[in-house]
């Protein structure tokens, strides 16, 4: 390994070169690797400042759940920015869908189908998803087929849909939601619990191994160069270890005694094992994981994603390649509408209702997450996993800063600085590569 480059370089950077070489052999995106490293450094930094209190399971869970709404939206924003567009309306669209959920469950259902029915929350969710598709299709159509710049259309959307939130709420906060809807809020009652969490973890590990084997087989089939086998094993082991560690941490948080008592009062047969009841992976995180996997497949394994990237790289080439560029762009907005509905469900569940300002300012965090995650405003460059990590970095910082007692304005200042540094780092890096 060290034969070529190692022999000529002086001893100091030699170790570094070797690490870089090993990293290259694993074909891991160096950018992604850097972001994970940054996230770990931030975790450990806050952990050190707070004598480890920051790294408790409950903190990590709460933080992830807080980031989930924005992270889900960021996965869609990546595709929109990659195709050289923007969506400024996501905060307001989340607002109007969240308010729709709340109005349905608080005002409409009680006089029609009843409160806390088995299917009411699903009906609300379906209506919200349909609304998201409709809004996305409308904005996407105006942008792609009529040709009004996306900045203008979605800026208009930001105002219009925020105004509509007030119109349908009558200016009042709408609460509460149906009980079952609250599952999407996370917390002990909105988590998978111990056994299911382990099951999910194992499914992920099996998937990681199968994907590695499949990819290697594919390349072998055509006699392409493959990664060294040690690199495959390292990736597989690290992937599985991280997955299982995350499940372990999530399960190490137990149901608080007060909550257990309340359940025992309602149902004396409520069983609590001696070590306490494992909380497990919160549903919002399950939803985020599902969205991340599906969006990654869409972005990298489907024609649709290929077309989005081609449009971002060279719109004329995409058109000349016979791609229906307008429909592709419209689809990115429809997808964004669906993601807004999912994100709104989590947000509304966490509020157990909706206020008029729900989702306000999300657009900025979502765009920031995508950009911190390596999405380029010039178009054509960006990854789903990067955007999710970007959201995690931002929310870890915000949560950590509030944890050590700094107010929200300071959190915003830091988030802003991080945004600029992340992009600056990227810009310099790309310039160097060229």
């Amino acid at each position: 390994m060290s034969a070529g480059a190692g022999a000529v370089t002086p001893s100091a950077p030699r170790g570094l070169a070797r690490v870089a070489g090993a990293l290259r052999a694993t074909e891991i995106d160096p950018r992604l690797f850097g972001m994970v490293a940054a996230l770990v450094v931030i975790f450990l930094g806050f952990g050190a400042v707070t004598n480890g209190r920051f790294l408790s399971a409950i903190n990590l869970l709460t933080m992830s759940v807080q980031a989930a709404s924005v992270a889900i939206l960021a996965t869609g924003m990546v595709l929109i920015i990659v195709s050289r567009n923007i969506d400024l309306s996501v905060g307001s669209v989340v607002g109007i869908i969240a308010m729709t959920y709340a109005v349905l469950m608080h005002e409409v259902f009680p006089t029609t189908i009843g409160v806390d029915t088995a299917y009411g929350w699903l009906l609300a969710l379906a209506i919200g998803l349909a609304l998201g598709v409709l809004i996305g299709a409308l904005q996407g159509f105006i942008i792609a087929y009529i040709g009004i710049p996306s900045f203008v259309v979605t800026l208009g959307g930001l105002l219009i849909f925020r105004g509509m939130v007030w119109v349908i709420s009558g200016g009042a906060t709408q609460a509460p939601n149906d009980k079952q809807f609250g599952v999407m809020a996370g917390g002990p009652e909105g988590s998978l619990g111990g056994p299911l969490s382990w099951a999910l973890g194992i499914v992920f590990c099996v998937a990681i191994v199968l994907l590695l084997v499949y990819a290697r087989r594919q390349r072998r089939r055509f006699n392409f160069p493959v990664r060294p086998i040690w690199a495959e094993i390292v990736i597989g082991v690290i992937g599985c270890a991280v997955t299982l560690a995350a499940v372990f941490v999530a399960n190490s948080y137990k149901w608080p005694q007060g909550l257990v008592d309340r359940h025992l009062a309602e149902d004396p047969g409520f069983h609590v094992p001696p070590g306490g009841l494992d909380s497990g992976i919160p549903w919002p995180i399950v939803m985020l994981l599902a969205v991340t996997v599906l969006m990654t497949i869409l972005a990298t394994r489907r024609r649709f994603g290929r077309y989005v990237f081609a449009i971002g790289g060279n719109p004329e080439a995409a058109e000349l390649g016979g791609i229906n560029t307008r429909w592709t762009v419209m689809k990115t907005y429809i997808l964004m509408g669906v993601l807004c509905a999912i994100s709104a469900a989590i947000t509304s569940a966490r509020l157990n209702g909706a206020s008029n300002d729900v989702g306000e300012g999300y657009e900025l965090y979502v765009i920031a997450a995508a950009v911190i995650g390596g999405t380029s405003f010039a178009g054509g460059i960006g990854t789903i996993s990067g955007a999710v990590l970007g959201a995690m970095v931002m929310y870890t910082l915000k949560y950590g800063l509030s944890f050590i007692g700094l107010e929200s304005p300071i959190q915003d200042i830091v988030a802003g600085i991080v945004l600029i540094i992340a992009v600056g780092f990227d810009t310099l890096n790309r310039r160097r590569v060229r």
């Binding site: 594919q218 390349r219 089939r221 055509f222 392409f224 497949i297 990298t300 394994r301 489907r302 024609r303 290929r306 990237f309 081609a310 971002g312 790289g313 060279n314 004329e316 080439a317 995409a318 058109e319 000349l320 390649g321 016979g322 791609i323 178009g379 054509g380 460059i381």
Partner: protein, 262 residues
């Protein structure tokens, strides 16, 4: 000009294209036979590229008709052209810089598995095979084409046109960005494709290129076809005169020709 029995591979009849009030192409008629190279020459803005964009589906004509094998066809977009086995190497290359060579080669015609997933390995394999013919030294299949050299990018664009078994090939300034060795390679390729029976429209500024490769030459001037001449029936000087004056040599006066030929 020879036989009337078999219709030409391509006939573009009375094609007109206007941008706003400007006639980019005006009642232009060109034909192309199988196994023939037709050079399309003219000054800047003469309408060569626009006429070819009509055939490749990038710009539908305002009027006129296109016949393939003597049958009238409608080419409303690039997809229509590709169905008719018309492939184009654009002057700009029309590559998406941010994706790799296989993704560009199959852009819009991706290979997918039964479940609709992109089969990147199969696309890479096909790309390796076709590039092995065009540019055997090419090894960079997994990097964005932005990082490739001009010649390599050109090779990718050519590979894309050749891979799908084109019958009609449009090459718009195919050697403009290339060094001498690569230019020679492209010339060999054009000769080889012609011998395989393809019809090739060659758009070029380089009159020597055209004289070297073309069987017939169509000269354009201000959107019109000045004349179409067989290479053996004309000279470089005559073609140059047509490019500059916009008239067939017989119609140009001695005074007009004098400063050109001396």
């Amino acid at each position: 000009m020879t036989s009337e029995q078999t219709p030409p591979l391509v006939e573009m009849r009375d094609i007109s294209v206007a941008f706003g009030g400007v006639h980019a192409v005006e009642r232009a008629t060109v034909t192309l036979k199988a196994g023939e190279v037709v050079g399309l020459v003219g000054g800047n803005g003469a309408g060569k590229s626009t006429l070819m964009r009509v055939l490749s589906g990038a710009h539908p004509p305002d009027s006129g008709e296109i016949l393939i094998d003597g049958e009238k066809v409608t080419i409303a977009n690039p997809r229509d052209a590709k169905v008719l086995k018309i492939e184009t190497i654009y002057q700009t290359l029309a590559l998406a810089d941010n994706i790799d060579a296989p993704a560009n080669l199959f852009l819009g015609r991706e290979l997918v598995s039964q479940s609709g997933m992109l089969d990147d390995s199969a696309m890479e394999d096909a790309t390796r095979k076709v590039m092995g013919r065009l540019n055997p030294n090419f090894k960079r299949f997994k990097v964005p084409v932005r990082t490739l050299s001009g010649g390599q990018r050109q090779a990718v664009a050519i590979a894309r046109a050749v891979y799908f078994n084109a019958r009609i090939l449009i090459m718009d300034e195919p050697t403009a960005a290339l060094g001498p060795a690569e230019t020679a390679q492209v010339r060999d390729l054009i000769r080889q494709l012609r011998s395989e029976g393809l019809g090739i429209f060659l758009v070029s500024h380089d009159i020597h290129d055209v004289f070297d490769l073309a069987d017939r030459i169509s000269v354009m001037y201000h959107g019109r076809i000045v004349d179409t001449v067989g290479k053996s029936d004309t000279s470089i000087d005559d073609v140059l005169a047509m490019i500059i004056l916009g008239k067939p040599p017989g119609e140009a006066s001695k005074e007009e020709l004098k400063p050109l030929i001396g």
